[in-house]
Every structure is written in C-alpha cells, then in structure tokens.
Amino acid sequence: MTSLSETSCPALAPHVVLKRDEARSRWVILAPERVLVPDETAAEVVRMTDGKATIAEIVDRLAEKYAAPRDEIAGDVIEMLQDLADQGYLK
C-alpha cells in the first residue's frame, strides 16, 4: 500500500468521480456501490488533487487561503487523503 507524504501528487482513481449533487446541495464522491459525502473542505482538497499538485502545494494554498497553521492543515490533509487512498479512491 502507498503511504502519502508531502511530495506525493495524488489524483482520484479513474473510476472515481467528484460531482456536485445539485438535488441535495452538496458534493459527492462516486465510485461503484459507494457514495461518499465530503464536507466543503474535504471537497476542496479533492478538487485540488489533479495528479500534478503535490500535497505540499495543496497545503500551502489552503494555509494561505484560510490563514491557518500549516502543520495542522498538513496533518489533516494527509490523514484525509490517506484514508481515501486506503479505500482505493486515489491512484
């Protein structure tokens, strides 16, 4: 299994789709037999995982946008993405 770090460039796996669910005013992550409902922050992180941006870059952008401590954000982002990776949602 893959262990993510700040140098990783994660992306959603090909069978996984992030979509705006207009009927329920929320974001959803769609995979076969699964519907995940990320909160706004998680959805924002997932939108930035394009296979090009490193986790470090994603964290930098969030730290700047929310004027929050970088270490704290890095911990949360890696934990959330690692969880998605472990469940097979990332490539």
């Binding site: 299994m1 069978h15 789709v17 979509k19 669910d21 207009e22 009927a23 329920r24 076969p32 097979g88």
Partner: protein
Amino acid sequence: MNHVQAAIEIPLAAMGEMTHRCPLQCPYCSNPVELAKASDELATFEWKRVLDELASLGVLQFHFSGGEPLVRKDIVDLVAHAAKAGLYTNLITSAVLLDDAKMTALAEAGLNHVQISIQGAEAETADRIAGFPGHEKKLAAARLVRAAGIPLTVNAVMHRQNLGQLSDIVALSLDMGAARLEVAHVQYYGWALKNRAALIPTPEQLDEATGIVDEARIRLKGRLVIDYVIPDYYAETPKKCMGGWAQSFLILSPSGKVLPCHAAESLTGLSFDSVRDGSIEEIWRDSPALNLYRGTGWMAEPCRSCEFREIDLGGCRCQAFALAGDASATDPACGRSPLHRGIFSLAVAEASEDRRTLVYRRYAGQS
C-alpha cells in the same frame, strides 16, 4: 393518516434490469422465477426517458444489469445517454458477450465502471455452476476492460460448491486487474431458494471464508477492496436490506416496474407500478407497494419496540415472506425472530446432507 410514515428520500442509485435474457443459467440468479418476456422489455426510447427522469430527480448512479445487459442491441446508445445525463454508469455483466469492438464503443460512450461475475476460480467448476462455457471468455473480457482503461470489479457469488476456491478467487481477481472484489454469499430468494440444499455452506466453511477475507483485506489494503456479504441464515442480526425498503435504491424490471429490490415481485399480493403508467417521481412517492414497508410504521413485535429498529429496519421483507409466510414479520435472520433457531438448524442440516444437483435458471428457449 399514517403519522410514522418515513420521509421519502431521493434514491442515490438506480439499477436497470435491462432484460432477463442471459446466456448463463446460474442456479442462484437474482432474477425472479417468473422471467420477463423479451416482448415486454422497455424500448430504447422508454429507457432513455427513464434515464433522463432519474438524473433530473437527483439519482447519481445507474447500474446496467440484467439478465445480461449486453444482450440488448441498444446498450451502447443507452450508456451514452446515461453518461450525457450526468449519471455515473456501471455495467454489471457476465462478460461472455463482451468483445473488443463493444468494449471500445462502451468506453467511448462514457462508461465509468464494469463489474464481471465469476462462478469459480477455474473453468471446470465455473462453467458447471453457470451452465455455460464462459469462464475463459470472462478472463479475456477482463483484459479488454483494463486495456480500455476502465476500472473493474469482480463479483464472486459463493456457496458450498465453490467456497473451497475462495483464496484462488482472490488471486484471480488481482490477475484480472480488479480494484474491487465482491465476495457475496448466495442470498436465498427465488432461484437460490430452490437450490438452497445444494448451495448453503456449512458453518465451518463460512468461518473459513470469513478468515480468508479478513486476512486478504489486510494483506491487500490499498490494492484490492473486498466487500463481503455473509448468508443470512448464519447471521445474528439481519441486514438493513437495500438500505431500507424503497429508501436509497430503486430497481427497474425489464418491463419498467419500479421495485425496491430484485426479489420484491416474489411478494404475492403486491402490485408494482410501471414507468409506462406514470413518472418515476410520482411512482416513487405514491406507489402503495413502495409505501407499504417504508420506515418503521408497518412493524409488529418484536420489531416495533426493538432498539435496533432504525438500524436494520427489520431486515428483509422478501425473506420474511419466503420463510415466515408474512412479509411484515421480523426477518428470520434476526436472533429475535421466533424462527431464527429453526432456519439456522435447517441450514446446518441441508449443508451436511451435501446434495449437489442444481436446478438451473432457464430462460424460454434455453435447454
């Protein structure tokens, strides 16, 4: 007025049984024993209307199932239509009719995912169970799916006659390039109920299978997701069948009936409405059959006062009907059902007799 009527949610996913026609004859097929005739199937334009209605209602995923969905000549057209409507599309197939040209066309149509069923780890067992020489074709089809860049789930329906192959099935799924494996013990409705004595595992086999799944899940974390469904007869608590009767999942029969699950037509006395008679939105909201077991208002004891009634919603109505003769009874899979000990003993007894003869699912014209 029923004040305990559950709020009606928009289903997250819908499954279309595009046809009941299928080259395979699996003795545990989830299709009803009374199969729909080809002449009753919804036409292309009717399925397109259905897909548009589902997408605008807020349904997110559409599973093309059957029978064998690739029997339909319009399947690529329908997948393209669903994808354009914004639905996440999944093809649930035996794959024996999947060739290179069809796979390419489906990928171009925007298909998101393919699920291929296997009946065993090698051809001799698998083809005997399926009643069709399809195992090698499935392996070739899996290569086409992966070459087209489409992710693959392998669905392995497990029972006494193939459970010894479970470790090999896990390995085969990896070889086939699957990212996900469903290890689904047979659920005993319809065709499978006819074949229960030939299929139900022993409790020891079930424990061994559960051990294999637990070990493989740890070893293959991040490489292969394994979903696991145990047979109800050996459960202590009932499953929240379909996430609740007419709650989050909707099934369309080949002739367009709006059903809460595959087996619901086995409940005699219930009449399900067809998309030919009205909009899906109206049927989902107003159908007396769909409203009958929504939520908890229909429950009798021991469900009514049970602290788990919202957790499992009383289990499965079809199983209650099949085993207790009353669809509003507690699912006998539940330890609190008066029938629970009886079905457990029945399963153990049938498994130890070890009868092997299968009653194959036969579509008109198959022999």
